[in-house]
C-alpha cells in the first residue's frame, strides 16, 4: 500500500488497461475503449447512462473527460460490437450487455475480434495476444497463418461470425422511397401524448456540423428526427411531426430496422431526408498518411452497419475537422464511395 501521485495513478491505470503509458493516456481512444470494456465487464447488464457515470467517476480524479466524450465512446464500442445494446421486452428501456467473444475473418489472414467476458480477463489465446492491434475502438489481428489462428480462436471459445451476417445492411433503395415509408407510418401513428424535452435535428441547418443541427422544439412545424425524454432512462429516438411547436404525430425507433439500435435507424432516416431535401450529407476524401491509402471524413454519425463495413475493409482513424474518419487502401476508393452513396445517400464533397 502506498500513496501515489495523479500522474502515477494515470500511468498505472493505462498500464493495467494494456497500454504503454509513455505513448497513451486516458484520453487516447484505445485506452478509453479498453476502460469501457473493463467497466462493462464488471457492471453489465446496465443502462448506458449508468455505464457512463461509472467510467466518468473513475476518470474524474485523473483527467478531464467530458461526459459526452465517454458517452460517445460507449456508442462506438457498441457500434463496433464489443457490447450489445438491447431493448427490454415490452419496455422503452435499453440495456447494455456484453457481447460474447467472437471474430470475423475479413481477409485470409485478417481478423476483427469482438466481445468482453464477465471478469474482464482477455479471452484471446496468449500466443496471439502480442499480434492483436488496438485501432481506435477495434481490435485487429493480422495472423501469420489464417487457418491456424482461426482454429486457435475457436478452441479458446470465440464464436466465428459469418461475414455476411455481421455485415448485414438494410437493402438499397432510393432515398425518397425510404423516407416515404416513415412518412406513411407517421401518418398512421396514434396519439403522441405530450412528449417532454423534445430536441430535434433542424433539416435546414448545415449538414457539415452535426451538433449544430440540434435544437429544442419551440415553434417549429414539419417532420423531424428527434429525441424526447422519458421518465427514467435515456432519451428516446423518434420521428415526429410538429405544428407550431406542438407534436401532432410521433413514431419511436427502432421501427423498421429492428436488427440495429434506435439511433442507427434515426441517423439512417436523417441521411435519407437530407438527400431528399437536396442537402445530402457529405463525405470528404483526402490522401492517407501511409502510401496507397485514403481517408474518408464524415460529418454526421453513421449507423453501426456502416461502421462495421468500414472497420472490415479499412480502419477507424483520428478525425480531422470531421466527426468520424476511416482510412482505406486506395483500391477500395470506388467501392466505398459507392457504398456511402448507395446505402446512405452521402455525396462526395
Amino acid at each position: 500500500m502506498k500513496i501515489i501521485s495523479t500522474a502515477e495513478a494515470t500511468s498505472l491505470t493505462v498500464a493495467t488497461l494494456g497500454f504503454d503509458p509513455s505513448y497513451a493516456d486516458l484520453q487516447t481512444p484505445e485506452a478509453l475503449a479498453a476502460l469501457i470494456r473493463k467497466v462493462a465487464a464488471c457492471y453489465c447488464p446496465c443502462t448506458a447512462e449508468s455505464l457512463t457515470a461509472t467510467v466518468n467517476g473513475l476518470l474524474a480524479p485523473l483527467t478531464v473527460t467530458e461526459r459526452e466524450v465517454v458517452r460517445d465512446a460507449i456508442d462506438q464500442v457498441v457500434a463496433y460490437g464489443d457490447l450489445a445494446e438491447i431493448r427490454e421486452t415490452g419496455s422503452a428501456k435499453s440495456l447494455i450487455y456484453l457481447a460474447s467473444p467472437s471474430f470475423v475473418r475479413t481477409a485470409d489472414r485478417r481478423f476483427l475480434l469482438f466481445g468482453v467476458v464477465p471478469d474482464g480477463e482477455d479471452p484471446t489465446p496468449p500466443e496471439l495476444r502480442s499480434v492483436v492491434e488496438f485501432v481506435m475502438y477495434s481490435r485487429r489481428l493480422q495472423a501469420g497463418d489464417g487457418d491456424s489462428t482461426e482454429q486457435a480462436l475457436l478452441e479458446a471459445g470465440f464464436a466465428r461470425l459469418k461475414p455476411e451476417s455481421w455485415l448485414k445492411c438494410p437493402p438499397t433503395i432510393p432515398a425518397r422511397y425510404f423516407v416515404s415509408k416513415y412518412d406513411e407510418a407517421l401518418l398512421n401513428a396514434g396519439n403522441p401524448g405530450t412528449p417532454e424535452d423534445v430536441t430535434l435535428i433542424e433539416p435546414s441547418r448545415p449538414v457539415q456540423y452535426y451538433s449544430g443541427r440540434w435544437a429544442k422544439l419551440k415553434r417549429q412545424t414539419g417532420r423531424f428526427v428527434a429525441r424526447r425524454s422519458q421518465a427514467f432512462g435515456a432519451p428516446l429516438w423518434s420521428y415526429l411531426e410538429a405544428k407550431e411547436g406542438v407534436v401532432t404525430r410521433l413514431l419511436d425507433f427502432p421501427f423498421n430496422e429492428n436488427h440495429w439500435r434506435a439511433c442507427d435507424e434515426a441517423w439512417h432516416l436523417q441521411q435519407a431526408r437530407d438527400s431528399v431535401a437536396g442537402q445530402p450529407q457529405r463525405f470528404r476524401i483526402r490522401p492517407g498518411v501511409q502510401k496507397n491509402t485514403f481517408v474518408m471524413d464524415i460529418f454526421s454519425p453513421i449507423p453501426a452497419w456502416a461502421t462495421r463495413r468500414w472497420e472490415s475493409v479499412g480502419a477507424r482513424t483520428l478525425a480531422s475537422s470531421s466527426l468520424i474518419s476511416f482510412v482505406f487502401p486506395v483500391e477500395q476508393l470506388d467501392s466505398e464511395c459507392e457504398f456511402a452513396n448507395q446505402r446512405m445517400w452521402l455525396e462526395r464533397g
Partner: protein, 967 residues
C-alpha cells in the same frame, strides 16, 4: 526383444521402484504400470513385440508386467467407455473373449501382489471389474487431463500451504470441485490420494519434481501431454503460479496459514467458517427496478452457488439435483441446478421476514441450511435503503444504511410506522411487494441538523466526511457505502478525500496481507492510494483521520474482498443478451435423450439461435446434426418440441446409440454460445438400437466382464408381465412389430429400452394398457414398484409412439398403485375429479368417512394455497402436523428405530411413494417392506398424503418443464 526379456527388465525396474517406496514406509507408496520408466521409442518397441506375440499365441501370465504396461498404455490413450474396442483396434489378432479379458485382470492382480501396485476401488471399480485395472494404471488418461487442469485452475483461489502439502486433502477438494465435470472424471476424482498426488506433482516447480510421489519421467510425460493443449496449459500455468505464491507465503509463516481477525459489514468479528462463507460471495442482492414514475418492483439477484459447491462438495447433490423455492418469489420452484449457472434474477412478491432463509431446497440438509443462514438472509430491518442509480431505472441496496448528500433513495420498511410521515424532502413511492411500504428520500446537498436527526431516527446515518472511491481501475463491485470487491489480477487504486482540514491520517489494512501507513499533514490531499496486488481474501481498510484542534479522530472503514477472476470457458453465456439454463446442471446423455433435462433460452425476440448436436465415439466426431433457427426466448416447452423433432431424426437416433458422448451447442452469434457436453452414464451393459430397413434392430453390448444376464420383454398391453427373450441378444436381431420394453438385468445393473410398435392402422395409434387388478398385498405393491422402476428408467427410442407407450404404461402402473394403497372407491373419485365430474376441492371429503376426521378437510382447505408453493420439506412438515392433529395412527417402528421421528419418516415415505415411486425402494432401503405393510393398513393417512400431493402438483400441471422431469 522377446517378452521374457521385457518381463525381466520391467520386473527389475518395478522391484526397484517398489523398494524405494517402501522405505520409509508411507501410506502413499502405490505404484502404477504407467511408471514403467521406458522412453517413447521403447514403448513403441514393447507394443510391437506384444503384437508379434499375439500373432502366434495368447497372453501368458508369466509376462504379467508386460501385459500390465501394455494395457495401461492402451488405457492412457483411450477415451469414452469402450476400452475393449480400443484394445482390439490397437491389438490386431487379439481374441476378445472372456478368458483373455480375465487374463488381463489376473496380470494386474499379480502386479499388485508382487509390487504393491495400485488396486482400484470405489463404485466405478465395482461396476467395471476388469477395465478398472488398466485405466487406473494409466494414471491420468489423456481425455481427463484437460479436466484436471481446469479443476486445478478453478481451485487455485483456495490453495493454502496445508492443502498443497496434503495430497489426500487436495484430492478431496478436487473431487468436490469436479461436480460439473464429466462422469468419468468424477469417477477418477473419487481416488483422492491418487488424484491429489498427480495434482501436487503437476503443481510442483521443476526443482521440486524429485519430491513427486510419481516417477518423474511419468510425471513429465503427463505434464508434456497436458501442455500440448493450449487451454490446459494456460489453466495449469495459472494454477502453478498461484501454488507457487502460496508456497512461498506458506514458508514465511511458521503456522502455515495467515491469521487475522475479519469483521463483518456490521462490525462483528467473523468466525473462521463465516469468513469462509463470506469469501464465497453468495449473499443474494435485493434491488428495486422502476416500473413507473413512482413505482418500483422488488428484484433479487441470486448468486451462483457453484463456489459453495466447490468449497462444500457434499452439498453438490442437493444443489444440483433438488428444486429450490425462493422465499417470497413469484412462480413455482426453480428447476434443479438452476443456481449453478451464474447469477439469476427473480421478482419478489412478498418481502421475506428477517429470519427466513431465502433459498429452500426440496430436501432438508442441515449443513446447507446452516451455511445458508450465514449469508442467504435479507439484512435485518427495520428499514432498507436503496440508492437510485444515475439512470433512475434501478435502485441498489445500501447495506450499511449510509446516505450521501445530493442523492436520491428509496427507503422501505415493513410498516408505515417505521417511515417518516412529515420528513422534509420525502415523497410517496410504491413498491409492488407484499409486506413492505416505501418512500422516496431526497438527501439535500447540505444536510441540516434537523434532517440529520430525522435520518438517525430511521437508523440511517450520513456518510462520514471522509469519502473513498475507486480510481482508474474499476472495482468488480462497489456500493459507494463501504463495501467493495476487486479481482486478484487488479491493482486497486482508491481516492480518499475529506471535507475538512487534516492533521494526520492512519491507513490500516487488515487481511491476508496487512499493511499500515501513517501520514502527516504534509501529504498532498486528496490521497491517491495504490493498494497494490493483494492475495484473495477479505480485507478491512481502517481510515483514522485526526483534525487540528480536535482530539476526537474521525473513523472510516472500507471492507472489501479480493477474489480470483472467474475463467471464461466459452460454454456458458454470462452477462450477454442471450442466455441459457439447463436443469440438471450436468446432464448425462440419457438425461438429454429422455427429456429429463429442461432447457430454457433467453434472448432478444428479434434474434434467432441456431444449434448443433454432435456425437462422439472414442473422442471422434461420428455425426453432427444442425438445427434451427430457434425463436427467442425459448421456453422449456418450446425447447421440448424442438428436441423431439431433433431426436425423431433416424440418423440422430442411430448416432445416439453408437456414441458415448454428445455435445449440444446453441449459438446466437455474437450474443453468446451455450455448450453442454454430456456423457453416457457408464453402465457395463447396454442395448444398442439401430433403425434400418423400416425396422428396429437390437444388440446387447457388454462393456467389461461377461456376466450372467436375465433378458426379457415386457409388452405394452400388460406392463407388469415379463417374458424371457428367445433371441441371442449379443447378435443384432430384428424386433418384432409389436415392440415392447426390452430389459437386460445382471446382479447390479439393468438397461432397458422401449421400442415402438409398427403402426399399420389408426387402431394401433391408441396406447391401450390392460392392467389386471392385483390383490391388495405387500407383494403386489412391490411388484408395481419394480415395474415402475423398469418403465420409468427405460429409454424410449424411435418415435413419439415409444414415448406415448411408455407414458401410458407408467400412468396405468401409477393408477394401480393408487388403487392398491388408497382403495378402489378413491381411485374412482380421483378419476371423476380428473374428468371434472367431481370438483377437485371435494376430493378431500373422501379421505375418511369417519366423523372424527371431519375437521381435516377444513384444515387442508386453509393450508391449500401455501401447500402449492411449499418445498418437499415444508410439505412433509405440514402433513406431519395434519396427521398428528387429526389421525390417531398406530405407531410405526422398526427394529432399529422408534418414536415420533419414525412417524414423520413414514409420512414422507407415503409422499415419496406418489412423488417418485421408481426411487422409493432405494430411498427407504431396508425399511421398504415394513413401510409398505403399514401403508396398506392405514389408508386414511395414505389418502391424506395423496390429496396433499395432488395439491402440491397443481400449479405445475401445465408446466412442461416439470412434465419433462417426470416422464
Amino acid at each position: 526383444m522377446t517378452l521374457n526379456v521385457w518381463q525381466e527388465r520391467l520386473d527389475s525396474h518395478f522391484a526397484q521402484v517398489h523398494e524405494q517406496r517402501r522405505t520409509p514406509v508411507t501410506t502413499h507408496s502405490a505404484l502404477y504400470a504407467l511408471e514403467h520408466g521406458l522412453s517413447a521409442d521403447e514403448v513403441d518397441q514393447l507394443k510391437a513385440d506384444v503384437l508379434d506375440w499375439v500373432k502366434n499365441s495368447g497372453p501368458s501370465r508369466r509376462h504379467f508386467s508386460v501385459w500390465a504396461v501394455y494395457s495401461a498404455e492402451v488405457g492412457y490413450q483411450y477415451s469414452g467407455e469402450e476400452y475393449w474396442a480400443t484394445f482390439g483396434a490397437l491389438t490386431p489378432n487379439w481374441q476378445d473373449c472372456n478368458s483373455n479379458r480375465d487374463h488381463i485382470r489376473d496380470c494386474f492382480r499379480e502386479f499388485h501382489r508382487k509390487y504393491g501396485a495400485a488396486k482400484p476401488y470405489g463404485p466405478w471399480a465395482d461396476h467395471f471389474r476388469i477395465i478398472c485395472w488398466p485405466i487406473t494404471h494409466a494414471i491420468l488418461p489423456q481425455d481427463l487431463q484437460r479436466e484436471l487442469a481446469y479443476v486445478l485452475y478453478e481451485l487455485r483461489g483456495s490453495f493454502t500451504p496445508a492443502l498443497l502439502r496434503d495430497s489426500e486433502l487436495l484430492g478431496r477438494r478436487i473431487e468436490d470441485a469436479s461436480w460439473n465435470s464429466r462422469a468419468r472424471f468424477r469417477q477418477f476424482a473419487e481416488h483422492h490420494l491418487l488424484v491429489g498426488q498427480i495434482a501436487t506433482a503437476l503443481l510442483l516447480t521443476e526443482d521440486d519434481k524429485d519430491k513427486a510421489l510419481i516417477l518423474p519421467t511419468t510425471l513429465n510425460r503427463i505434464a508434456r501431454d497436458l501442455d500440448k493443449n493450449q487451454r490446459s496449459r494456460e489453466w495449469l500455468g495459472d494454477a502453478r503460479k498461484r501454488a507457487n505464491q502460496v508456497r512461498i507465503r506458506g514458508l514465511s509463516h511458521t503456522t502455515g496459514e495467515s491469521q487475522f481477525e475479519a469483521v463483518s459489514a456490521t462490525g462483528a468479528v467473523l468466525s473462521p467458517r463465516h469468513r469462509e462463507v463470506l469469501e464465497l460471495g453468495i449473499e443474494p442482492d435485493v434491488f428495486l427496478e422502476r416500473t413507473g414514475p413512482d413505482s418500483w418492483s422488488t428484484r433479487l439477484h441470486l448468486p451462483s452457488l457453484a463456489p459453495l459447491v466447490q468449497r462444500f462438495p457434499r452439498l453438490r447433490d442437493v444443489i444440483a439435483n433438488q428444486r429450490c423455492v425462493v422465499t417470497g418469489a413469484k412462480g413455482g420452484p426453480l428447476p434443479r441446478g438452476y443456481l449453478l449457472y451464474g447469477t439469476q434474477t427473480v421478482t419478489l412478491s412478498r418481502w421475506p421476514s428477517s429470519d427466513e432463509v431465502l433459498l429452500k431446497f426440496d430436501n432438508f440438509d442441515s449443513e446447507l441450511a446452516y451455511l445458508l443462514t450465514m449469508e442467504c438472509l435479507l439484512r435485518p430491518g427495520p428499514t432498507w435503503l436503496f440508492k437510485i442509480g444515475p439512470d433512475g431505472a434501478t435502485a441498489t441496496h445500501i447495506k450499511t444504511g449510509i446516505v450521501q448528500p445530493g442523492t436520491d433513495y428509496i427507503l422501505t420498511a415493513r410498516s408505515g410506522t417505521h417511515l417518516p410521515h412529515s420528513t422534509l424532502n420525502s415523497s410517496g413511492a410504491t413498491v409492488d411487494c407484499e409486506g413492505i411500504c416505501a418512500i422516496r428520500l431526497t438527501v439535500p446537498d447540505v444536510i441540516t441538523k434537523i434532517f440529520q436527526e430525522q435520518l438517525n431516527n430511521l437508523s440511517i446515518s450520513t456518510s462520514s466526511e471522509i469519502r473513498v472511491a475507486p480510481v482508474g481501475v474499476p472495482a468488480r463491485n462497489w456500493d459507494d457505502s463501504g463495501t467493495a470487491e476487486w479481482l486478484s489480477t487488479d491493482t486497486p487504486l482508491i481516492r480518499i478525500s475529506a471535507t475538512f482540514e487534516i492533521e494526520g491520517i492512519i491507513l490500516n489494512l487488515v487481511g491476508p496481507t496487512s499493511n499500515k501507513l501513517e501520514l502527516n499533514r504534509s501529504t498532498p490531499w486528496p490521497l491517491l492510494v495504490n493498494l497494490e496486488r493483494l492475495d484473495p481474501g477479505v480485507y478491512n481498510l481502517h481510515v483514522l483521520v485526526s483534525r487540528p484542534q480536535n482530539p476526537a479522530p474521525t473513523f472510516g472503514r472500507l471492507q472489501f474482498t479480493i477474489r480470483e477472476p472467474k475463467r471464461w470457458t466459452g460454454s456458458f453465456p454470462t452477462a450477454t443478451p442471450f442466455s441459457a439454463n439447463i436443469s440438471p446442471a450436468a446432464p448425462t446423455m440419457e438425461d438429454l435423450w429422455e427429456e429429463k433435462a429442461a432447457v430454457e433460452l433467453s434472448g432478444p425476440p428479434d434474434r434467432k439461435a441456431e444449434g448443433s448436436l454432435a456425437f462422439y465415439r472414442n473422442s471422434k466426431n461420428i455425426y453432427e446434426h444442425s438445427f434451427g433457427p430457434l425463436d427467442l426466448p425459448c421456453s422449456p416447452g418450446h425447447w421440448l418440441e424442438h428436441w423431439q423433432a431433433i431426436t425423431a431424426n433416424k440418423s440422430v437416433e442411430n448416432a445416439y446409440d453408437a456414441s458415448s458422448e454428445c455435445e449440444l451447442t446453441i449459438s446466437c452469434e455474437e450474443l453468446g454460445t451455450f455448450r453442454v457436453r454430456a456423457i453416457r452414464d457408464p453402465k457395463p451393459v447396454r442395448w444398442v438400437v439401430k433403425q434400418k430397413n423400416s425396422g428396429y434392430f437390437l444388440k446387447l453390448e457388454l462393456l467389461d466382464e461377461q456376466v450372467q444376464l436375465a433378458l426379457g420383454r415386457y409388452s405394452f398391453r400388460s406392463p407388469v408381465e415379463f417374458a424371457q427373450l428367445r433371441e441371442n441378444a449379443f447378435c443384432e436381431f430384428r424386433v418384432s412389430e409389436d415392440g415392447g420394453l426390452f430389459a437386460a438385468t445382471a446382479d447390479q445393473f439393468r438397461d432397458a429400452v422401449i421400442i415402438p410398435p409398427a403402426i399399420h392402422s389408426f387402431k394401433w395409434l391408441a396406447a391401450e394398457v390392460k392392467m389386471p387388478q392385483m390383490p391388495r398385498s405387500e407383494g403386489s405393491l412391490g411388484e408395481i414398484v419394480s415395474a415402475l422402476e423398469i418403465w420409468c428408467r427405460a429409454r424410449a427410442v424411435g418415435s413419439q409412439f415409444a414415448v406415448d407407450r411408455k407414458s401410458a404404461a407408467i400412468k396405468a402402473l401409477e393408477s394401480e398403485l393408487v388403487r392398491l394403497v388408497c382403495g378402489d372407491e378413491w381411485l374412482r373419485h380421483e378419476e371423476s375429479s380428473r374428468n371434472s365430474s367431481l370438483a377437485f376441492s371435494d376430493l378431500k371429503n373422501f379421505i375418511s368417512a369417519s366423523l372424527k376426521h371431519s375437521s381435516l378437510s377444513r384444515d387442508i382447505s386453509i393450508k391449500q394455497e401455501s401447500l402449492r408453493s411449499s418445498s418437499v420439506e415444508e410439505l412433509i412438515d405440514s402433513l406431519d402436523w395434519l396427521a398428528r392433529s387429526h389421525l390417531d395412527l398406530p405407531v410405526f417402528s422398526t427394529a432399529r428405530d422408534h418414536g415420533v421421528s419414525r412417524q414423520k419418516w413414514l409420512t414422507e415415505f407415503v409422499y415419496r411413494l406418489f412423488l417418485s415411486p421408481q426411487h422409493i425402494r432405494k430411498w427407504a432401503s431396508n425399511d421398504f417392506v415394513p413401510a409398505v405393510g403399514y401403508v396398506l393398513k392405514n389408508s386414511v393417512l395414505v389418502r391424506l398424503v395423496r390429496v396433499v400431493y395432488l395439491i402440491s402438483q397443481m400449479p405445475q400441471l401445465n408446466d412442461v418443464q416439470c412434465k419433462a422431469a417426470t416422464i
